[in-house]
Amino acid sequence: MTTPDDTVTNAPASTAKRMLLLGLGGVAACAAGAFGGHWWLTRGVVAGEEAKLLAASFEGLDGKPQPMSTWKGKTLIVNFWATWCGPCREEMPEFVKAQNDFAAKGLQFVGVAIDRRAPVEKFVKELAINYPVLLGDVAWLDALKTMGNPEAVLPFTLIFTPQGEVMLRRTGKLKYGEIAAIFA
């Protein structure tokens, strides 16, 4: 027989623990701010992992493989997103504007959707997205853990210099002003 006490917990969270977890998060954020950096963005980063991304090929919405090497020599912004992710959808109009404004200065956005084709196609059409949107296998979420996204959340964005070096890693929204600052 079973009883309600027959429980298993993957992470019991008492009220005290809940507050402690959030408190630690706040302290970490303050510390990050104080040192002018964001320590968690380099947590778990394995040097050279992004090279795999730049060497990879993703399926385009036309069904053809699209190698990332297509955009070699550009200031490349690779944005991992999904249609089921609200914050991802919210930041994309700013990406469309940035692509318009800075394409002549060498900016190239590429969206990698961890999603099914149909909703991606619909959203790309609705927003009139003006940069390539490719389809990524969910296995890429695991790969992103070593590129500055230890919890494999979305959105996640990497900015590469024309030489292929990582200029910025971002979990959460990337703002137009931050992109504009690169080309100021």
Partner: protein, 140 residues
């Protein structure tokens, strides 16, 4: 700058209890996080259980998805089902961190009804990797 996202297991800790004829899964939801009511799925030995009980959520007008129901507080899901020893119960859920401005991909937790020394108890299977966790939901 928003705080670093917490691990999904920390943001939404789960706890399963098996009772005769039904099971209950409790999700903790840390402040600043939320779960979507319409994105829960439950499978018993791989077969979807269609009738699951969830309390009403908080109605939110989402700029992306329109009217959605979310849980910003701990919530319990329950369903009536025949459970036998070695039944594998899988719960799929999806949520976001308003604090960090990110969403977690659909997460999957599997509990096994196993014979214990005195009582039948639930034992959680540890997922191997994200590909195994999300493939059925995302790459279909």
């Amino acid at each position: 700058m928003p705080p670093a996202p917490l691990a999904v297991d920390v943001a939404f800790a789960t706890e399963a209890a098996f009772e005769p004829g039904r099971f209950v899964v409790k999700f903790d939801v840390l402040p600043g996080h939320y779960l979507y009511r319409d994105r829960f799925e439950v499978l018993a030995n791989g077969e979807a259980i269609k009738k699951i009980k969830l309390p009403p959520g908080k109605i939110k007008m989402d700029p992306n998805f329109g009217r959605v129901e979310v849980y910003e507080q701990p919530v319990s899901l329950s369903a009536a089902t025949r459970l036998t020893v070695s039944t594998e119960l899988t719960v799929v859920f999806q949520g976001c961190s308003a604090l960090a401005g990110v969403c977690y991909p659909p997460a999957r937790r599997t509990f096994v009804l196993a014979a214990g020394a005195k009582n039948v108890h639930a034992r959680e299977l540890v997922p191997i990797n994200l590909k195994q966790q999300f493939m059925p939901r995302v790459s279909q």
